[in-house]
């Protein structure tokens, strides 16, 4: 039974009142090629018993392999308390509530989240979150156009280490709005920006730096930030929040700091769960706040002088500004943000730093073990955080398939990105020395 209260008669009366023949007529301005009449692989409907069975069966196929894949989503230990608290009735909603100010607890949670993320990124203000890291990059690019109005090129330059999926998503969202995304030149040895080949005078509206980069390297973000600012570009830092416990936060890059920081919030207490739901975070300098998309919670005092929390700067948003809104995003990933806030509260900055250090140490052990195998070497020189690109002397895909047979997910196949047989590996704090050694001996065995 569909949950639509209108009778056929109601529907006909309403259609007659607005002069439409059918409900289909209401959608005729949407071009046929943009319409989907069914979703591949998604059946019409199942009852609760059937869907539970299906999900159990599908989940069982995953098994519980040892995972050494990162490439944008990272397996971290999530303290049991995180989801125990996040799924309490008081928190268990996906959205900021309507009549938001009636839910002071929810607003305070978001306010605390914003405070923590601004601290991690070293910037002034945070929104209440966006959908994911990739769409956050698209929103940051669009925001740059609004805030850097003197530059009319629509050109966004991406460091070579920006996640290629982020570029695809940003192009899909912002490409039809006049933005062009181009890559900065790459230095083959380091995998980072080739400073000697940078061209002045392209007049980019924004430059995007990813730290750590997609293939795991660390860019000279200070130098790149200063170069980008000298080009009158907005600097967008795409960062891993866990790494920020050790690395310099974007707000402190170069002479002036990055203008906007975005990233994937999943490492902060959100399970990998086949790719989502995750959340994107976004922070920026105060000067750009009016062009920032999404919701922002502010702290205030009520008439009696009590501290309270309220949605603020709403005039930028869709429900007030209509078509002129800064973004069509008027929501946030409330539940994921709640989990992240609890995760950050439980760990504290020291705890996140401990996770980061342990992940770095584990990755070092893994890379030392793997590069001792004949035919495996590092693809790029230089320091790394918790992910490293390896160059192999043979095709990667068959090796990954053989490792999977042994219940090991051996990494992300980097061959297409790197243009050579390459593998991206990551060992977070969740891997024991025995796990790492098991992977090393399995690959040694397969490559002997």
């Amino acid at each position: 039974m569909p949950f639509i209260p209108h009778t056929e008669k109601d529907t006909q009366e309403m259609l007659a009142a607005i002069g439409a023949d059918s409900i289909e007529d209401l959608f005729d301005e949407i071009p046929a090629e943009l319409r989907v009449d069914h979703l591949h692989g998604v059946p019409e409907a199942h009852n609760e018993m059937e869907i539970s069975r299906l999900m159990r069966d599908r989940a069982a196929i995953d098994g519980s392999p040892l995972c050494f894949i990162g490439a944008g989503a990272y397996e971290h230990h999530i303290p049991a308390a995180v989801w125990d608290i996040a799924t309490r009735g008081e928190y268990y909603s996906a959205y900021t509530p309507y009549q938001a100010e009636a839910s002071q607890g929810t607003l305070q949670t978001i306010y605390e989240y914003q405070s923590m993320i601004t601290q991690l990124t070293g910037l002034d203000v945070s929104n209440a979150s966006l959908y994911d890291g990739a769409s956050a990059l698209a929103e940051a690019a669009l925001m740059s156009v609004r805030t850097n109005r003197r530059v009319k090129t629509g050109l966004v330059l991406l460091a070579p280490g920006v996640n290629p999926v982020y570029e695809q998503v940003a192009t899909a969202i912002a490409g039809s709005q006049g933005l062009r995304f181009e890559r900065l030149p790459v230095d083959a040895a380091s995998g980072n920006v080739a400073f000697t080949q940078l061209r002045d005078g392209q007049n980019p509206v924004a430059v995007v730096l990813q730290q750590p980069s997609f293939p795991g390297t660390l860019e000279d973000v200070d130098r790149l930030t200063d170069w980008a600012h000298a080009q009158d570009a907005i600097v967008i830092g795409a960062v891993n929040p866990v790494s920020l416990a050790l690395l310099k936060p974007p707000g402190h890059w170069g002479e002036q700091g990055a203008d906007i920081a975005i990233g994937e919030g999943q490492p902060l207490g959100v399970p990998m769960s086949s790719g989502g739901p995750y959340f994107g975070f976004m922070t920026c300098k105060q000067a750009h706040v009016r062009q920032m998309p999404g919701r922002i919670v502010g702290r205030t005092t009520d008439l009696d002088g009590n501290t309270g929390f309220a949605l603020t700067l709403q005039a930028r948003e869709q429900h007030i500004r209509r078509t002129k809104a800064t973004s069509n995003i008027c929501t946030n990933q409330g539940l994921m943000v709640t989990a992240a806030t609890i995760y950050m509260s439980l760990l504290g900055l020291d705890g996140i730093a401990a996770v980061a250090c342990r992940s770095h140490a584990n990755t070092t052990r893994l890379v030392e073990g793997l590069t001792a195998i004949k035919g495996v070497e590092r693809l790029y020189e230089g320091p790394y955080f918790h992910e490293v690109a390896l160059k192999l002397d043979r095709p990667v895909a068959p090796l990954l398939a053989a490792l999977a047979e042994r219940d090991i997910l051996g990494g992300f196949d980097l061959t297409e990105f790197a243009g050579t047989d390459a593998l991206l590996v990551c060992a977070t704090e969740t891997k024991s020395a025995a796990d790492i050694d098991a992977y090393v001996s399995a690959l040694a065995d397969l490559m002997s």
Binding site: R149, R150, R290, A315, R316, I320, R321, K324
Partner: protein, 131 residues
Amino acid sequence: MTELPGDLLYTKDHEWLRHEDDGTVTVGITEHAATALGDLVYVELPEVGQDVESDGEMAVVESVKAASDVYAPITGSVVAVNDDLADDPEKINSEPYGEGWIVKLAPDDEIDESQLMSPDAYQQFLDELDD
């Protein structure tokens, strides 16, 4: 509401304009518009040198409750903007016809005053809105 200044012309979008001696035109929003918006918290100004078209968007005024476009009453180019509004946007509320001016425009052509209202005509326009 205070009396409408007699030396200004008005638009149906609640902007006012004043002919200056140097041939430029100063533009702001009327007290009616400022009061309807409430306390202004932000003004987004155009760039000096930017061309504007009659009835085209020129600036944005934002209050706690709403953000509205300010339309150019004439076709021309921006010769000055009121930078003081960046720190003090509520000047538009307190002195809409004075310190709260928004831009100065250099008109491209002779201004077509048939599209504009005299103080009396604008007052009548406001009275009809109230009805």
